[in-house]
Subunit: 325 residues, 2 copies
């Protein structure tokens, strides 16, 4: 790195499985990156040590010192105290009990450190660099094991009063139904990877009863879980039962999206996770429900697209935090 | 008026029944006000003429001329083109077909004129001067014949991509049910004055069948509509059937509020219209449903209160528009 001005951004993405540290001069371009397993079972000290040493090593490799750091950004799951910069025992980091990550890193690197939950930072990343580019009012839905959302209003991240805006997974769609977000019949129960797996179990059982053939029957008979990936693979091979499961999940997703359209009137809804892999198989039924359920003009205005950042969203999210969101 | 600096704000509140014009130096304090029937059946020209002459008269009475006007603000029902300042045939002003109110008033008074729909402006007014004072993230629900909302995020009005954010009345609560917002089983169908009247009709019919006495039976037998006001009056006199109707409506309202709490994590929900008159009879069942249905921390954080501006909300809304929202 030629220029030693104070303009280096440091991103730190702490996940339940792995942690990445990275450097950037112009996000989303990453000039150096290191990754290691987080191992939450071992407590936070080891990982925090590796974050510090990883950043020092990258700086040394670039031939610069900590004085070049403009700001650090930490992305991790909530709950967290964004103002004080404390990680408050997220479900995927259950030993990280009140870790003052901001103070630790500011003390080590003599630069400001900001911290934000990964769902909100991911929304900003997709808005700035991914499927939400050019939109003004955007909702970013993460559809993985769970279902969460980040909300951009008038171009800015909207966090809500407890940093908990966008908890779409908790909305009730039906009185009973698959469990998600600790609630039966919730949006997460119906329209997430976990929910889709629950629906698939029942669909395959019903198909076997009626002697309908399906590529998913082997998995079912072996007693193994049917994952969203299995359903997607079978659907792409034309399996009717798998296609019906995707259609049903897409329709439930559509009900959630219609609520977002009527309430937030966004110009873009960007869907990460499953939607990136399944694409229109999932999104077409959802779009159909939006046209049926939501107000006409807002429904016409809102584009529903898959996320674009894929695996790099964690890096981009951490850098957006370092940029000041 | 002593001071002839350019700092007079002019508010214009155009409703389906009446139109008000008013002057203010420091909203929400009104220093002069005139009101006349809008008479939409006669077309817009008469009313627009009265708006102009009304403002001129008030200025003359204050001993100042148009050079003292800082800005004019027009509040009226949507749809409207906020940027061009055109009223586009709102349902309650069906002859006001593309009225360029901004151009007309700017030409007449040589000052900037802003225009905004009354639901959004009402939300700003309650946030600035009413039940939302001091809140950061607020939803203002108008619960009258219909059910609409205005949304404040991080202290600012959030309009959405088509000025249509906050269309809570259009959300589907049930597959069938009372009609509202052109949709059966919608939030407006269940949780509005109109919806409550539909529910009351059925409740009174059922009560009569079971020979349960109710103060509402006379109205029902006379074939007249049972209004929200009738239900409120009977409930306050301890009528059990009326209380059950209020309870049921409050619970449906609670379902809507729980969605708002989970999605927007507001610190305040302010409810105008019926809630001002019915108070806790309506809001207590709603608060109970929020505690049951919404996420714990956001539910604890969000206060649900009646609106405070009452009849003066139209004036305050028009002045907020003149202030630049």
């Amino acid at each position: 790195m030629q220029n030693s001005e104070k303009k280096l951004l440091v991103g730190i993405d702490i996940g339940g499985t792995k942690t990445a540290v990275l450097l950037s001069l112009a996000p989303p371009v990453v000039i150096a990156r290191k990754e290691f397993p987080t191992r939450p079972a071992q407590g936070p000290d080891r990982a925090v040590g590796l974050i510090k040493s990883g950043i020092h090593e990258m700086l040394a490799e670039q031939g610069v010192d900590i004085s070049t750091i403009a700001r650090l950004g930490v992305s991790c799951g909530g709950p967290l105290d964004r103002i004080k910069g404390i990680i408050q025992r997220p479900p995927n980091l259950s030993t990280w009990d009140d870790v003052p990550i901001k103070a630790i890193l500011e003390n080590e690197f003599k630069a400001e450190c900001l911290i934000e939950n990964d769902a909100n930072a991911g929304a900003v990343a997709e808005h700035r660099f991914g499927g939400g580019k050019g939109s003004t009012n955007m909702v970013f839905l993460t559809m993985g094991t769970g279902l969460g959302a980040g909300v951009i209003t008038d171009g800015r991240l909207y966090r809500g009063s407890n940093d908990l805006a966008g908890e779409v997974g908790h909305l009730r769609l039906t009185k009973t139904g698959p469990m998600g977000h600790n609630k039966k019949g919730s949006a997460e129960g119906w329209a997430s990877g976990g929910g889709m797996a629950q629906v698939a179990q029942e669909a395959v059982a019903a198909a076997l009863k009626k002697k309908r053939p399906t590529l998913l029957s082997k998995l079912y008979k072996a007693g193994g879980p049917i994952t969203a990936k299995d359903i997607g693979t079978a659907a792409k091979r034309g399996d009717k039962v798998a296609l019906e499961v995707l259609e049903a999940t897409g329709e439930k997703l559509g009900i959630v999206l219609a609520i977002l359209v009527d309430l937030l009137n966004p110009d873009r809804i960007v869907i990460g996770g499953l939607a990136m892999r399944l694409g229109d198989l999932l999104l077409e039924p959802a779009r159909r429900v939006i046209r049926r359920e939501a107000l006409e003009l807002p429904a016409q205005t809102c584009q529903v697209v898959p996320a674009e950042l894929g695996e790099s969203i964690g890096d981009a999210a951490a850098l957006c935090i370092a940029m000041g969101i």
